[in-house]
Symmetry: C2
Subunit: 420 residues, 2 copies
């Protein structure tokens, strides 16, 4: 196999461990210099390829690349840009090929979620559709944990850990003050269509009566009266009520509770402000003193308390992506396979990209209690191992030392600019 | 000195380290069994005394008490209840004496902030005003860092650390996505009248251009036009803008930006929802895509990333309170004294309670940059040592092991109930 350069890009919402996957890709590629020349990273994701803004990761020291293992967010920049179909925007694909050819790129590693898997699949078909030979491997990443075929998605375990810990901590706060102060606390977490993140809050509870008392999942139609009744019953019984709500909580007719009417680049509805809305609902119906928090980006960037399991898997998937490419694979995604034993174990498997793209994995109903407000033992058994281990970063002066890369671009070879 | 029992209570908003002070009080008292008999903790703070709901801390194992060092929130319960003046509510004071006498209480350790210092001062005067001999020692605690005479307040350092880390992490997230997505991120933090917590976010920045780009302090009158201009300039220059806003941010006329019209038990205005309001303001003026987070209780209960300096000081102050009592002091508060050397050091000093009660320490203007949007080197030099060190709790199955006490009440000795 002739030596080729590799392109790596981060896509979509970043996570606490996507850089760990980058670290896996780059460190593994560096071990195979005979087959992989440079690893060029897209500046701000795929648009870096379209604009011919390619970061030369070879300029980064070994220590800097290792530092990615403990640095949250996307070190090369990410973007939300989904390639349209070849029919709809042929120019984009031709531009990609032009850039790939100019920089001798034969490997395409795309680190993202469901939409990105679709982009990666389209790139994997370039040999066939436009005659440019390339191997495209998707490295899974999404805090939403909604990719199919993989047991779980890197990024999710760390958000899950953050949310479970934060729920446990805030609940202790509320419990200690509820006699004379706040009785209802609402934490809004991410999860547009799948309730995985909200479900993880359920791990905070150790025994009957522990918080969270109510979890709101997108999978369960929201019923105001049942919700208020449960809040009242919980406060009566335990003195306080902790609610963890998925931003995607919705009514039976599919309207989001937090619908704002805006849409993002992918045409998804923009959400936000669910927690204050729920708080108002509780106050109007019960008069209870409330507080609410919206974790927003804090939850997905919380590298300071990342799950060791998550970091290990993120790295391993980056590593596996390169190994699969070197074995000649295309249109594939390495994935996490859970061992069958009672004790948690995992290994790396493979999934065909056309089975992954545009398929959204929802929470199994069996992970949600019959009343729709909590997680079952089956849900707990699935979630618990994913938050195990504390992968602490190193600190300097009380703050985590996160890597800053040089991010030097390789010289452009094309004269033409591409408007994007 | 005859052996007497001690009363300990937690008051006001709880923190990540108030239990570390409780640990200091109880462990130190246990070393002096000849002088201090039982340490009885008020269930839910001072109302535990009024209701004669006294927790026998002697029932807790040595390990459980040690566990308080790493457990956030108020392990005995806290409350917001400020004693009125003797003239206004003599019945409450008479009830306190009745309970203290029934349980042979000669020491009163009150762990709280400014309002609690006032209550503690009133109790310290009971010998004089109502002829009941008692020594009252205040153990400082408040995340707002607004007590006078002490260099800083236990609870603040850990919130400061949490906010600085969260700002650094979320800023990396925004920076990596801003090319095609969110350009403005707003984090709302606590701090009603003093901007100490928001100021701590400034520690996240290491060099020019780093986030946070704008800090909003209660001490600086909010000017919409200047704010919007700064947001626009920052996005133009750096591609994104991270704002950390104190919940107490206010206009020149003293109106809070987040005023809701409600008041709490102390007559303070209830705040909340500043971040979404600022976000709307930014959107209307600039059209930038935004995200916002409200940390709320997460910030003050985040024991998982508590400052070691903070934990050490909280414990030392609890310890010192008992030692001061044993030396015969009354109406006093042990406090933190910062060493004069270039290298940070601290020791325990003493402050007279009548100098502490009802005095609110604001941020010195010299800690805030001239433009009002950031912290100066002087501010940084003050804040930086307070967040040093990571006092990690131990974990089990991916979650912190926080102590649960038995909290057994001693049998009531009074027939009369007290309505509260």
């Amino acid at each position: 196999m002739p030596r080729k350069n590799a392109f790596y890009a981060q896509s979509g919402g970043v996570t606490a461990v996507i850089n760990a996957s980058a670290c896996g890709v780059i460190e593994t590629a560096r071990k195979h210099r005979g087959q992989i020349g440079k690893v060029l990273a897209g500046r701000n994701g795929i648009i870096g390829a379209l604009r011919e803004e390619l970061i030369d990761t070879g300029k980064e020291s070994k220590a800097a690349i290792r530092g990615l293992l403990t640095t949250p967010s996307g070190a090369f920049g990410s973007c939300r840009h989904k390639l349209k179909s070849l029919q709809e925007n042929r120019a984009e694909y031709e531009r990609l090929i032009e850039v790939f050819r100019a920089h001798d790129i034969g490997y395409f590693f795309y680190n993202g979620g469901g939409d990105s898997a679709d982009t990666c699949l389209k790139v994997s078909q370039l040999s066939e559709t436009l005659g440019y030979p390339i191997q495209a491997i998707h490295v899974p990443k999404t805090i939403d944990n909604d990719l199919p075929l993989t047991d779980n998605c890197p990024g999710f375990g760390s958000v899950a850990k953050y949310v479970a810990i934060s729920t446990r901590e805030a609940a202790l706060d509320v419990a200690s003050m509820c006699e004379t102060s706040t009785k209802v606390f609402i934490l809004e977490v991410m999860g547009r269509h799948a309730g995985w993140i909200a479900a993880a809050a359920g791990l905070a509870a150790e025994k009957e009566g522990d918080a969270p008392h109510i979890i709101l999942f997108p999978e369960i139609a929201f019923d105001r009266d049942r919700f208020i009744a449960r809040v009242q019953r919980t406060v009566k019984r335990h003195g306080y009520c902790v609610i963890v709500a998925s931003e995607g909580a919705q009514y039976a007719d599919g309207r989001f509770l937090a619908e704002s009417g805006l849409k993002d680049a992918f045409g998804h509805s923009q959400l936000g402000g669910l927690a204050p809305q729920l708080a108002q609902m509780v106050k109007d119906a019960t008069g209870f003193k409330y507080h609410w928090a919206v974790a927003d980006y804090l939850q997905r960037s919380a590298r300071h308390i990342a799950s060791q399991t998550d970091v290990d898997q993120a790295y391993a998937l980056g590593e596996a992506a390169v190994e699969l490419a070197l074995k000649g694979h295309n249109a594939i995604m390495p994935c996490i396979v859970r061992g069958k034993g009672k004790r948690y174990s995992w290994s790396i498997g493979e999934a065909a990209l056309d089975q992954v793209a545009n398929v959204e994995k929802k929470m199994p109903r069996s992970y949600i209690t019959r009343d729709g407000f909590g997680i079952t033992e089956a849900g707990r058994a699935y979630l618990a191992p994913l938050i195990r281990g504390e992968a602490y970063p190193t600190y300097r002066n009380g703050l985590p030392r996160y890597t800053r890369l040089k991010n030097e671009l390789v010289p452009k070879k094309l004269k033409k600019r591409f408007a994007i």
